[in-house]
């Protein structure tokens, strides 16, 4: 993100100022509440302008998030948030563009778009609210569901191997990659903040429990020994191969910034391209007819 320049200093907004008067439909105890609260805090911390912020999502419990943020929002189609966000950012580059959505939305039906958003390195932040289940459709397998998990579509246990979103992000060239957990608002806020400030495509996997279709187990898993904070292990965020090693969680979930590198974004490159195209060319739109003179 490049923070917009503003002529007069704006009054700082509080987290609550980013709250819309629409009541979340989430189940009591859903991890997504935490994500939403951390996002409010982040927006306030960065003092982002509501009218220059857009939150784009697909369909799913998690994808309801934009409706709760007082900024521009688009609750679009299942799996397609990244495509819309690409259009938003390219058409209106000053807009801080945030994409949010679920594991099914992003890595089942939306899988085809992630690697392309990644390699374009557009300046936007993608927050994956990963509950490892389909919430909105009431409990089917997700591509991040654990092996052997019993769900409504795997009544004798999941026989597919899950996708690891962070490994995939690394493999496709995402330039900022982090993992956090919805029970730790402070950690989430810090990570979101860094992700949004990163200029280029940033990806944050948030472990966000689904109490209704995953019971209480996820909350337990994300406690105590269940998680490791990379900040405390001396992990080198700039080392690609080190990142790959901590990407796929072993016994515990590895949280924090996993990888971070700087590469020019598509937007910056395109702007340069525009200048090159303009060299020695007419600038009146109607003059392009002359291109057709025989």
């Amino acid at each position: 993100m490049s923070l917009p320049e503003s002529s007069e200093p704006r009054p700082a907004l509080a987290p609550k100022d980013y709250k819309r008067d629409l009541k979340p439909v989430w189940c009591p105890g859903c991890g997504d509440f935490g994500v939403l609260n951390a996002l409010y805090k982040t927006l306030a911390d960065l003092n982002l302008e509501r009218h220059n912020t857009a939150v784009i999502s697909g369909i799913g419990c998690s994808s309801r998030l934009p409706g709760y943020v007082a900024a521009y929002g688009f609750n679009a189609l299942h799996g397609r948030a990244l495509t819309l966000a690409t259009g938003v950012k390219l058409a209106n580059p000053q807009v801080t563009t945030i994409v949010a959505g679920g594991d099914g939305d992003g890595f089942a039906i939306g899988m085809g778009h992630f690697p392309h958003a990644a390699r374009r390195n557009l300046d936007m932040t993608y927050i994956l609210m990963d509950n490892r289940i389909y919430g909105l459709t009431k409990g089917q397998l997700s591509p991040t569901s654990e092996p052997d998990l019993v769900t409504k579509t795997s009544s004798l246990g999941n026989i597919e191997r899950p996708i690891d979103p962070v490994t995939l992000a690394l493999a496709t060239g995402v330039t900022f990659i982090a993992r956090t957990v919805s029970t730790n608002i402070k950690h989430m806020t810090e990570i979101f903040s860094r992700a949004i400030k990163h200029s280029g495509f940033s990806f944050v996997q948030v472990l966000s429990p689904c109490v209704t279709f995953r019971g209480k187990t996820q909350y337990k898993d994300y406690q105590g020994d269940g998680v490791i904070y990379l900040e405390q292990t001396g992990h080198d965020q700039h080392d690609f191969h080190a990142a790959l090693k901590v990407a796929n969680n072993g016994d515990a979930y590895q949280l924090g910034v996993i990888y971070h590198v700087h590469t020019e974004s598509f937007g910056v490159r395109y702007t340069r391209l525009r200048e090159a195209f303009k060299q020695d060319k007419n600038s009146a739109v109607l003059d392009v007819v002359n291109d057709f003179l025989p």
Binding site: R20, L22, E49, R50, H51, N52, T53, A54, I56, I59, R64, P66, G67, A70, A71, Y72, G73, F74, N75, A76, L77, R80, T83, L84, A85, T86, G87, V88, K89, L90, A91, N92, Q94, V95, G112, H113, H116, Y270, L273, R274, F277, K278, K281, N282, S283, V285, L286, V288, V289, F292, L293, P294
Partner: protein, 598 residues
Amino acid sequence: MDCRDLTLAIVGSGGDGVVSAGEIIVKAAAAEGLHCFLLKSFGPQIRGGESSCKIRLAVDPLLSIGEETQILLCYSWGDYKRFTEEIRLTKNAVIISDTDDKVADEDLPIEILGSQTWIKVPLNQLASVEVGNALTKNIVSLGVLEGFFRLPEKGIAGQIEKRFSKKKADLIELNLGAIAVGRKWAEDYERDFQPELPRFAEFTPCEPNLVLSGNEAAAMGALWSGLKFFSGYPITPATDIMEWLEKRLPRFDGTMIQAEDEIASCGMAIGASFAGVKSMTATSGPGISLMSEMIGLACMAEIPLVVINVQRGGPSTGMPTQTSQSDLLQACYCTHGDAPHVVLAATDVKDCAFTMTQAFYISEKYQLPVLVLLDQFVGQRVESVPRRELLETGIEQGWIKRCDRLTPDPAALAKNRYHRYQLTENGVSPMSFPGIENADYIASGIEHNELGYPVSHVGIHRTMHGKRYRKLDFIKEEMKFMRHYGDPQARIGILCWGSSKGPARQAMLQAEAAGIATRMLIPSCLMPLHSDTVQEFIDACDKVIVADSSYSAQFLTYLRTQVALPAAKLVDLHFVDGMPLPVKELKAKIEEVHHELA
């Protein structure tokens, strides 16, 4: 025999330079102010497969590509087979072929064997020996054509110079030499054998005409309308649009991005439009099938969006390089639910530009998706268009200036809470976009209330359906303009659409020449259709021929949903897709109907 109008076809395999020969002729003619058409056709090979060009040149403005070919230049009879359905020869067509291209008589169709004037030219020989470069064969043959038929000499020389100017200068000389060799051969032959040939009439060269394809015209129309964002995915026969815009949009601060697939390209365009700029995508049938869900999203979230479909032969992958009018019903009903949107169709190259300006006008004003139907026949054929006419479309028609979207009034925003989907008389609510203060909102494909908040209440659903559908009532009135042709008193009426216009008008002229009066009506806005106009037309005719180029008579099917078509009046004339509407068959049908009525 002097003609003011000449049709010729060139056939060969990829390496023969069929297309460049065709392009040189057409551009040469246009450079001298003539009117012309060029239609290319290819076999399935990527390179080196069979290819053909149909060309028509005339002193006066043209309506269509011309049904029957007077002159056939064939480099290779092996490749000719593929095109027997596409290239129909006049009875006394002149055939020119390469002496070296031997072929057994039984491998030739009857119209070639029976030809009166078949001139075998040692093209290969002339190129490799006289010119000294076998690759100039197609240029030598241009010289031959020029000599025999009086094709515009200066124009051809000019094109040769232009074409090779970026490469080496001696290439220009070589090719001009090749022209001379061909011309000389033709002159000698004529002197010796005095064949009877059609010759292009003397004419006074005037201001050059522009030469462009329908796809290019459509892209330009979009650019004129203020297009700032194009996302696309390559697909025949629509890719030209993306390729043309790739080089132009950045010059005007726009963006073109090649997406990973059609769903993404449509999604990006919707995102860009949501973000405040005029956006579009272009594809062909398979792409529309993939975009159906996105198109529905644009209806529901009320996002302006223009989608071009350059139709090709279907279903499925079908025949990607052939034309078709078989995506009409899909255009109207592709997405699930009751999803109001607009379908426009362009009739010829110039109209592609005009139709696009209308598409943007409607989609921006009414905040909904507009599908524009072209087809391979209009999209990829090349036509000459007087520069002035095109500029008129661009400026004088005034569409361009009028197509901005309604944004919220700042004064109102300061006072009242912004309701993105505010209920209004014509269903159009002021639309904000990121960057406008106090007007942030949530757009969604879920049913919503005026604020954009999700609801599942049937009453609100009904109200919102009403709001979205109301727009169509207004669009219907705004877009009621239709093209009328022919004799307003004629008893025989023709209803057709899109690229069928050219062949249909040609057939009408032929019928007129035979003393049969007809009239024709062509709607450019197919959905919502101004059905009163169509009904009046039907009621006023004794017989109505409904014609299109689809296997299942899609235009007729669609018309039935909109107007009453009494069985006694109706003449259904649909053709399999793959080829433009055939002039000959339509003319025959007109004659048949004429006799019936008499």
